[in-house]
Symmetry: C2
Subunit: 303 residues, 2 copies
């Protein structure tokens, strides 16, 4: 495998790199911003790429926000973007459920572990759901719950899918219900299984922390519909219609973003060092996932 090309400060290298691609897929957290902190020269870099006629797609594993929520975040950050350019893991999961899994109604109801982003995207695809942000699932488990969950009288007869995204409001009741649905035969899906969530320059538990208790307790593994799942790449290509050899994935995580681009046989991958992965992780000998190029920060593409 060729060594990744270091592009920061390399004007000719950057020109050559940008000229190779017509489409750039961007991860957001760790690339454009970290939480509410915008990285330097991001709006200008995005504008530069638009002026060069590049097609931009913002591909995020953040399941807590819908595409509409993300558009608001771009506006707040002063980055030009259209809602249609955003492709999130909640949207990816909703599309998978409505267009690929296609369980016959009414047995297509989803038990959601997660936030409003998951709910909005399920609504946009007319997928029925329960759980999610409903505060009634945040109460304590009572003794009678054990009985009514064990005998299934507390279960919705129509739930055929458990979908887990990052849940900021975990509860033992939700986990107990989700486990019971899985034991009854529900399909187990995850928006994504990122182990960590970068924020404020540190790392917090990611969406994988929501699924981890269920994986252990049920003995079942979810189908993850965020990066690096190629189900997400297929859905993106289906929507945006591009030549993969002319597309480049830009991200901060080797085991999600860069792997996603490599397995998707994109023309290139670019790693930024403003997020999770450190350059030592891909510059070492014999490592599994190596980006085509890297920069210290995305704004370094701007000369």
């Amino acid at each position: 495998m060729a060594a990744p090309k270091y592009l920061t400060g390399d004007k000719a290298g950057i020109d050559e790199f940008l000229d190779r691609f017509e489409v750039f897929l961007f991860d957001c957290d760790g690339v454009l911003w970290s939480g509410d902190h915008l990285f330097p020269r991001i709006p200008e870099t995005i504008d530069m790429l638009r002026k060069k006629g590049k097609q931009l797609v913002f591909v995020t594993n953040n399941s807590t926000k819908s595409r509409a929520d993300y558009k608001k975040k771009f506006d707040k950050m002063g980055i030009s973007a259209k809602e249609e350019e955003v492709f999130g893991s909640s949207y990816s999961a909703a599309i998978y459920i409505s267009r690929i899994l296609r369980l016959p109604a009414p047995k297509n109801k989803v038990f959601v572990l997660g936030e409003t982003g998951v709910e909005q995207e399920l609504q946009s695809e007319n997928v029925p759901y329960i759980g999610g942000t409903d505060p009634s699932y945040r109460r304590e488990v009572e003794n009678s719950d054990y009985t009514s969950i064990a005998d299934e009288s507390a279960l919705d007869p129509d739930v055929g899918i458990v979908l887990a995204g990052l849940d900021f409001h975990p509860s033992y009741l939700k986990y107990s219900l989700a486990m019971a649905y899985l034991r009854r035969g529900a399909k187990f899906l995850a928006t994504n299984i990122d182990s960590t969530l970068p924020n404020a320059g540190s790392l917090f538990p990611g969406a994988g922390a929501t699924t981890a208790p269920l994986i252990l307790a049920s003995g079942q593994e979810p189908l993850a519909l965020g990066k690096p799942s190629q189900a997400m790449m297929d859905a993106i290509e289906g929507k945006f219609q591009f030549d993969r050899s002319k597309a480049c994935m830009i991200g901060d995580r080797l085991n999600t973003d860069i792997q996603f681009g490599i397995e998707g046989k994109l023309g290139g991958t670019l790693c930024v060092l403003t997020g999770v992965s450190k350059k030592e992780e891909f510059l070492a000998e014999g490592v599994a996932v190596v980006p085509g190029a890297y920069v210290d920060q995305l704004g370094d593409l701007l000369r």
Copy 2:
């Protein structure tokens, strides 16, 4: 490995089995009861063993209850037991922290994920702690929390240990704080890592579901102090002083109870079929953990 002996209905076999041992270590959930459901003839079976002069120890991985709580449960169930005969995973963890780990004060403070059982046993060993059942940790995470956790201003400078038991009140704030303590270098301990909790004839998420998000997010594995950890066996032997060859472990789980007895080189192990493990799991060819004997239910020992 010899095939396990089936003792239900085998009067001579039961007599011979009971005569071999002076000490019986009992798992509780799945052996004596399931949740609030007492299995048949349990009080009479316990009384029979006491009349034969056997020493009884109740060894439980349930971290939510202290030894005093357990004594109350035995009383409610009508089973004769002394508080000193109970040995729980919370007590095991408290002893490990106070008598083996012995971090110098004040850096021996524990951040607790779990219920009152953990707190009571830490108190009994004079170990300082925060977290646990304190309701202030159940609130939502605010944006300012990300900053104050990332810059460590929200962290207690004295916390040197994260101890996780089964937590019926999980919160993203607790997980974020626990992860930050682990990243700062805290020791990671678990009362136990049972994947499931039997109740009402079904299975619910166990204490392992509390640690699973932290293991994934931090990349660190806890030292588990419940069964099958031999740290617990050593502590039990140290307290009760018995000849391991004359001791028998009775339990319903191959990968906790029976493994605990085998690895502890006890004279025997007895599996009951009223809990998690099914006989097919140990009667199959080439399986790793096989009990010395088994009965359909503990009450079958009573003729």
